[in-house]
């Protein structure tokens, strides 16, 4: 069938065997053993760095992302960026050189990173209450340490936790999830193998409590009849991610609050 070299960190599929690869098996299991509407395991941690105002680390399956937030602070470089009535949100996305199967020569500055940075900035400008901080700047830096599909989603989820950790007011969480359509069934939370198999997939970032979509991205072709199913599955996935993140935030806040009030 196909040889899987099981490296402790990620699976490496030899290319010449990909013709016999089944994304979904006959019993309905995917390559990593999930069902079609199951999310990958989400582990999160807030307050990773003490020197940043806010920071968070998230693992979604094998995708690992680290986010740090600085701000709001005085606009440092370039007085031209100052907005007199709201804060400027500055996002930077980068991928570590060791994050992909082949070493990445340009961690940031290439077109894809700039596009991702712009998407992140649009996402967070819509959610952060910037009117409270005129003339200041909020910096969000996200780095992918290991890429296994769903890079943008891991970034958004990590940055949400980091912004909450920094104490910057937001209207709601922003949770992101991908959903694809392979072999006539919608799949939730696409991994890198499923992405490279060529199936159409879309990425949704939404505010789970108010059920508003902040960003929707799709770069492939999907028949309009299937769109609703896939979108519903993605929104359900976002709500599942929200449930995990919210529980983590509550645990973190109650633990820290107990430490502070115990003295």
């Amino acid at each position: 069938m196909c040889h899987k070299i099981r490296h402790p960190r990620y699976w490496l599929i030899l290319p010449f065997k990909m013709a016999g690869l089944e994304i979904i098996s006959d019993q309905g299991y995917r390559i990593d053993g999930r069902r079609s509407s199951e999310l990958r395991k989400v582990c999160a941690r807030m307050g990773v760095f003490t020197q940043a105002d806010g920071s968070a680390y998230i693992e979604q399956g094998n995708t690992k992302a680290l986010a740090t937030v600085y701000g709001p602070h005085e606009v440092r470089k370039g007085r031209g960026k100052i907005q007199h009535d709201r804060a400027v949100v500055n996002c930077q996305f980068s991928m570590a050189t060791f994050s992909t199967g082949e070493r990445k020569s340009r961690p940031k500055g290439d077109r894809r990173s700039q596009e991702m940075s712009m998407h992140l900035r649009q996402t967070f400008e819509a959610v952060i209450v910037t009117e409270l901080f005129p003339r200041s700047q909020i910096d969000i830096y996200v780095q992918i340490l290991q890429a296994d599909g769903g890079n943008y989603c891991a970034c958004v989820n990590a940055a949400t936790l980091a912004v909450i950790d920094a104490g910057i007011p937001m209207k709601d969480y922003v949770c992101a999830c991908t959903a694809g359509f392979i072999q006539d069934s919608p799949l939730l939370d696409i991994s890198y193998v499923e992405e490279s198999a060529g199936a159409p997939f879309l990425t949704v970032a939404m505010m789970p409590k108010s059920e508003q979509i902040v960003l929707l991205e799709m770069n492939s072709r999907l028949h309009a009849d299937n769109m609703e199913k896939v979108l519903d599955l993605a929104t359900q996935g976002c709500k599942d991610v929200f449930a995990v993140l919210d529980r983590h935030v509550r645990d973190h806040v109650s633990e820290s609050h107990a430490l502070m009030t115990a003295s």
Binding site: E74, G167, K171, S210, R250, S254, E255, H257, L259, A262
Partner: protein, 291 residues
């Protein structure tokens, strides 16, 4: 050179006695009653009062606000702050005080050398850089708040001014307890300024008679003896240990932490397990004193 290596440890979940009464996360509905005034950390959405921060809801009569765990410094008039000069401008200095905008120290708000009282002239403006340059540390008091939130500072008293020999520690502003005075001469042999903005300054004991005459302009650049340096280094590590374990900083807690740390070497206080032990000892002692 000795290198200290530790294996990663999983974080211990400290025994949480009880969950806070009303814990909210961004987007949570706090109340649908329209009779409340909304404070910090809340916003109105369709007649519903929602939280915009993750924290504990505090209600004072009709005012509802959400207190976050950590936030940038929000200045109040009368606070003592320690700040770093970032820019020398026209008749003012811009000072970084860990707030969302840099604070402003006007030329008219500092004491002139010799304590003269006169109108600031053009020569004074040209002499600004001789007094405070970019990178200097000062202690000051908040005089006023501009409408956009920037603070206006003054160093009109002799206890404020340029800080010369010592160590600055940066902690979260929410960890500095509000007290009547923030300048402490600790009996262990050092002085501490606990700035409300989270910047703490530890220096050798300030001699009150010396500062009276100089008016905050002269810097004492005599070499500090090594016993004083050790006390200062130990205090700095204690303050960091207290801050890591989220203990409130005030003169008593810093002093108790210093006494609890005497059995360890100064450099050992930077290790996480010893820092935790010092913080736990301090917490126990404070609880015994209060309870």
């Amino acid at each position: 050179m000795a290198v200290h290596i530790t294996l990663p440890e999983s974080r211990k979940k400290s025994a949480v006695p009880d969950a806070p009464k009303h814990l909210v996360t961004p987007g949570d509905v706090i109340t649908t009653d329209t009779g409340y005034m909304r404070g910090h950390g809340t916003y109105m959405d369709d007649d519903k009062l929602k939280a915009s921060l993750a924290g504990v809801v505090e209600r004072v009569n009709k005012l509802i606000c959400v207190q976050p765990l950590k936030t940038r410094y929000n200045g109040e008039i009368g606070d003592v702050v320690v700040g770093r000069v970032t820019e020398v401008g026209q008749r003012r200095w811009r000072v970084d005080v860990n707030s969302r905008l840099d604070a402003v120290l006007m030329l008219s708000a500092v004491n002139l050398p010799g304590g003269e009282l006169r109108r600031r002239s053009a020569e004074d403006e040209l002499m600004m850089r001789e007094y405070l340059q970019e990178g200097d540390l000062i202690s000051a008091e908040v005089q006023a708040i501009f409408h956009d939130g920037a603070l206006s500072l003054h160093t009109r008293s002799l206890k404020y001014g340029k800080l010369s020999q010592g160590v600055m520690v940066q902690v979260s502003p929410s960890l500095v307890k509000r007290r009547k005075t923030h300048f402490h001469n600790l009996p262990c042999g050092a002085s501490v300024i606990l700035g409300n903005n989270g910047y703490v300054w530890v220096s050798p004991t300030i001699n009150d008679e010396k500062t009276e005459s100089s008016g905050g302009y002269e810097q004492d650049l005599e070499p500090v003896p090594s016993t004083d340096r050790e006390v200062i280094a130990r205090l700095r590590n204690c303050i960091l240990a207290l801050a890591t374990h989220k203990l409130l900083l005030y003169d008593t807690s810093v002093l108790y932490a210093y006494e609890a740390s005497r059995q360890h070497q100064v450099k050992d206080l930077l290790q996480p397990d010893i820092a935790e032990k010092v913080a736990d000892d301090t917490r126990q002692r404070l609880q015994m004193e209060s309870g």
